[in-house]
Symmetry: C2
Subunit: 404 residues, 2 copies
């Protein structure tokens, strides 16, 4: 018999029984885009490392500009022009100034920068300041952004352009990231033929390996494809042992409903432990999760539509857990374009196409009689309908979860 759990219980079981893979590898900074950081990053220097100007303008003593105006400019002697990347032993004394470009080093003695827009170059070696400057104006002080010892990015953060740029600013060109989980994929079933073949009557193409590989890649994992294994208990068991040895997580598709020849549960229980056999959700009810050889094993029914939802919802959650990153898929609120009927006591996932109009996001449910996968092409997201929900009216507000 199936030990059926709710979708919420599946997430709890994943959370409780699996931990992130702790192996780290060091990669070049820009190869770390989309990877998960495996070390805490602590600054060991000041950023910026010198006082610099926030504007193109003149470095001055603020006190020299007090009381000046368009009609009574403060006249200062131009001692020189600072070049970018230059940091000479220069000194601004009362009555003098230096030109400084945006980002340029401010010479010592100065305590303000006057924007070029509020100055006039008389062309005779003097500059007119037309507006008083407060002390520290247009100044970026050494260490304003970062000081040594400051925590910059924590272990477990997924790295994108902001983090990669920040690491570059700290001079970090190699970074430790968690190893990508390896997902093993096994398809079982005598009725399956390779997708390149035309199925004979009674046969179907092995769709799920392609779907499951896509899901692994979308979740940032690597994969190992064990192909189609015929419905032979010993052969499946042998392949499963090999896969749990070589991978961090194994997905076995097919053989998990209660019909003839469906012996995946028996195999997993024989080799390890089964946490549940059945999720109270449609499609994808005959899903099981267990552990063999210390590795998670998902048994996913052969039904391609069910495999699509189960892998996008639960397998991705487990890959995220193994990857050490807890960021979840983006959820948004949308308006349902047509009524969706209830499912009498079983929770349900329904794929939707999203359409953004000027003032709202519309979710168009994709209804498929057979629930096969072909009609799901173009799905942007899915909605979840709880078991106690009696259906949703057209125009209802629904929460949509992106599939990627």
């Amino acid at each position: 018999m199936l030990t059926v759990v709710s979708p919420e219980e599946v997430f709890e079981i994943i959370e409780k029984n699996f931990t992130k893979i702790n192996d780290a590898e060091e990669v070049n900074l820009t190869d770390a885009v989309g990877r998960t950081l495996a070390e805490d990053i602590i600054a060991n220097e000041y950023i910026p490392s010198f006082d610099r100007s926030a504007m193109d303008g003149y470095a001055v003593l603020a006190s020299d500009t007090f009381g000046c105006s368009d009609s009574i400019p403060a006249i200062l002697r131009l001692k020189g022009r600072i070049q970018m990347g230059e940091c000479l032993e220069l000194n601004v004394s009362s009555g003098s100034c230096y030109y400084v470009p945006t980002g340029g080093a401010i010479p010592s003695g100065a305590d303000a920068v006057v924007m070029i827009e509020y100055t006039e170059d008389y062309g005779d070696g003097t500059i007119g300041i037309l507006k008083p400057a407060a002390k520290g104006s247009n100044y970026v002080f050494k260490g304003d952004d970062v000081k040594p010892g400051q925590a910059i990015i924590s272990k477990g953060k997924k790295l994108y352009s902001a983090e990669i740029g920040s690491l570059a600013s700290l001079g970090i060109s190699r970074v430790k990231v968690y190893r990508k989980p390896v997902v093993g994929i096994i398809s079982t079933g005598d009725e399956l033929v390779d997708i390149t073949k035309t199925p004979l009557p009674g046969q179907v193409r092995n769709i799920n390996s392609s779907t499951l590989i896509s899901v692994a890649l979308e979740a940032g994992a690597l994969y190992k494809d064990y192909g189609i294994i015929e419905d032979d208990e010993d052969l499946i068991a042998k392949t499963l042992v090999k896969a749990t040895d070589e991978c961090d997580l194994v997905l076995m598709s097919g053989g998990s409903s209660a019909g003839d020849k469906d012996n995946a549960a028996k195999i997993i229980e024989g080799l390890g432990q089964l946490y549940f056999h059945g999720i109270a959700v449609k499609p994808g009810k005959p899903t099981m999760l267990g552990v063999v050889n210390g590795k998670a094993v998902f048994g996913i029914a052969g039904h391609p539509g069910g495999a699509y939802f189960i892998s996008n919802v639960f397998v991705k959650a487990l890959i995220n857990k193994l990857s050490g990153q807890s960021e979840s898929a983006a959820k948004r609120t949308a308006v349902l374009s047509e009524a969706v009927s209830s499912n009498h006591g079983r929770a349900q996932y329904i794929a939707v196409k999203l359409e953004q109009t000027d003032d709202k996001l519309i979710a168009h449910p994709i209804i498929s009689k057979s629930g096969l996968i072909t009609n799901l092409a173009g799905a942007d997201a899915y909605i979840y309908i709880g078991r106690d929900c009696e259906g949703l009216a057209k125009g209802s507000l629904v929460e949509v979860t992106n599939v990627i």
Copy 2:
């Protein structure tokens, strides 16, 4: 002088002046995950290719079950058990039935499947049917999902697990996708040193190349890094010509403000055409876009915080356009955790960290004095504040755009 345009005008200029790269390449199906489809996919077969059962049960003539019940079962002779993958020349005649597993081929003659839960196996070669079945119940008809000639996925669709699974179901193992755009990245500035070096006073690390490479990768492009080029007009021009020759889009960082030595605009105008020089937005105002050698060239100011926003907002939009895919970043509504002051007539991007509580999404603005990039580590999204907005109060509803 700068020809300043609004952010909306930038999107219009991108839309009007650039078209997608039309070169396609054929790749293996699972290598196409995240790529953009370059052909229309039309089905040339029926899916499913035979009438199949939606449940484990017995294939029967519906008329044989009329009027049956728990107390008065219809007794049918079991002619055999269909195996998965098997499609024999079998026939169900009145008074008989076949066992069929979920997905198994239904023998001819039958017109309904009774779920196993509503039957009883008497063990003597007869089966009791306990509930009447309507014609077509638990039946998936040949072609229910797809019929020959039906359009399945259109050119321009980004491919994820639903599409990859659908293509597998049609027997498509190789697929045409658009070539990934190649983004050339040039950093200019005498003050720049490689990120592996400790900057001397007045120098800064070349942060932007790392940020821009990340953005290119996040947008699904390839990149070519031309390194740091010193502030020499001829050398920059030569590098730009080479890069526009080898790439589909060139990002030149540094040298686009109005300060000393900033001659990017002159170089682009000398070699091609400049569409604008300045976007009325903060940070990143001194941004320019032009075309050289028939290729788009972005000039991006050296300021790392500005480069971060400009590349995430506008460069990604251009890469999407060149990639032939129009899906835009996910937008969500969040509650602002603290007040954000207005910026007196200039539109503004502010990075936010998102926090999902039980009942709402909270956006925490990341305020940085200098606007350098290090404080942006951990940014999940950004908010956009229009030029006419006088600031936002704590608790305001804001639209947040994901950065990845």
